[in-house]
């Protein structure tokens, strides 16, 4: 009852405040016209007629994330990596705990849920891969795809139990290797055009994608007439694997049984 009163008070407050805002200023609704900065991005993100400014990607958001402000995104990836390192450090000191006699058909939830998961988990992975691989064409990208793909191991962990994943090689160590490979790929992609410039003896920048007026080397925008937007496609793939493996590590560590920790509860 007390909560209901509180809820009604809050809703009335919001409605009254909205009414006040609408009455007080008629100009609060943002205008429909595109602002100057946005117009620059929309004009240049895919524009073959101005080759020194374009990213060759029809997806403006991915262009901004991995090209115009690529260094920021590299640091974001680093922050995520440090968070994963922190969670691994928190889970230190557990030993491998696999019960001697395991009946895999008895673990987890019912047969109905398992059958549904057998159908949906591959679909989730496919959708995630599509989001990541088309990140330079349609809304999406590496992080979005990786986060979507991490739902599949989560479902399997809860519905089939974690021994099911561990028996199939999805372990903390193997996921750490996948994650490190993804991060290495991101690093190599970041300096690839710079190294190409060094080899060719022309000026080039770190995190450069397409050719600039003072730096005439560029990553290939098309492979076999398929638009890959230079470095964006590679960034998205490597980020996909790094994020997918990172989330899987955290979920695996969270679902470790308590008695796997030395001196913990349980036995």
């Amino acid at each position: 009852m007390k909560r209901l009163v509180g809820l009604v008070v809050i809703i009335l407050f919001i409605l009254a405040f909205s009414l006040l805002l609408v009455v007080a200023g008629g100009s609060i609704v943002p205008g429909r016209e595109v602002r100057g900065l946005a117009r620059v991005y929309l004009n240049t993100s895919y524009n073959p007629w101005s080759p020194y400014f374009t990213v060759n990607s029809p997806e403006s958001v991915t262009s901004v994330v991995w090209d115009y402000r690529g260094l920021d995104t590299v640091f974001e990836t680093m922050v995520f990596y440090l968070a994963i390192i922190g969670s691994i450090a928190l889970a230190r000191g557990y030993r491998k705990y696999i019960p001697a006699k395991l009946d895999y058909s008895k673990l987890g939830l019912s047969v109905i849920v398992k059958t549904v998961t057998r159908i949906t988990a591959p679909l989730i992975i496919i959708v995630a891969a599509s989001i990541a691989l088309h990140g330079h064409l349609t809304p999406g990208g590496g992080f979005q795809g990786g986060a979507t793909g991490a739902v599949a191991p989560l479902l399997i962990l809860i519905i089939f139990s974690q021994y099911y994943l561990i028996r199939r090689g999805v372990r903390k160590e193997s996921m750490l290797i996948v994650r490190s490979l993804g991060l290495t790929g991101i690093g190599i992609t970041a300096i690839a055009v710079f190294l190409a410039g060094l080899v060719a003896g022309v000026h080039a920048y770190v995190l450069q994608n397409q050719a600039k007026a003072t730096a005439p080397v560029s990553a290939p925008a098309y492979i076999d007439n398929q638009l890959i937007s230079g470095t964006l496609w590679f960034f998205n793939i490597f980020e996909f694997f790094a994020v997918l493996a990172g989330f899987t590590i955290v979920l695996l560590l969270l679902t470790i049984p308590e008695r796997a920790y030395q001196g913990g509860g349980g036995e």
């Binding site: 809820l7 919001i14 989001i131 809304p139 739902v151 979920l251």
Partner: protein, 87 residues
């Protein structure tokens, strides 16, 4: 004159109001499992609001993280600690 733009913004505003109610219920709920469900409802509404505000990139990252991963992680944590919040 009510055009499609006004209807869209009106639905978004209504959804925002519901999300506030869900947030309030999540904060005041003593049963933490129910609180997580309220929080997931709020996240679902937020995903809808992002979609209406034409930010599909945010929707794609918000749905798996805020509706899938985050409630699951919190539920695992509740399972390992305790379900009821004490006064």
């Amino acid at each position: 004159m009510i055009g499609p733009m006004e209807i869209m913004i009106g639905i978004t505003a209504l959804a925002a109001l519901f999300s506030t109610a869900a947030t309030y219920l999540a904060v005041t709920e003593k049963d933490l499992v129910k609180a997580v469900i309220y929080s997931a409802i709020q996240s679902t509404i937020y995903a809808f609001i992002y979609y209406m505000l034409m930010a599909p990139d945010i929707v794609l990252v918000y749905i798996p993280v805020a509706v899938g991963l985050y409630p699951a992680v919190i539920l695992v944590l509740i399972r390992k600690t305790e379900r009821w919040e004490k006064d």
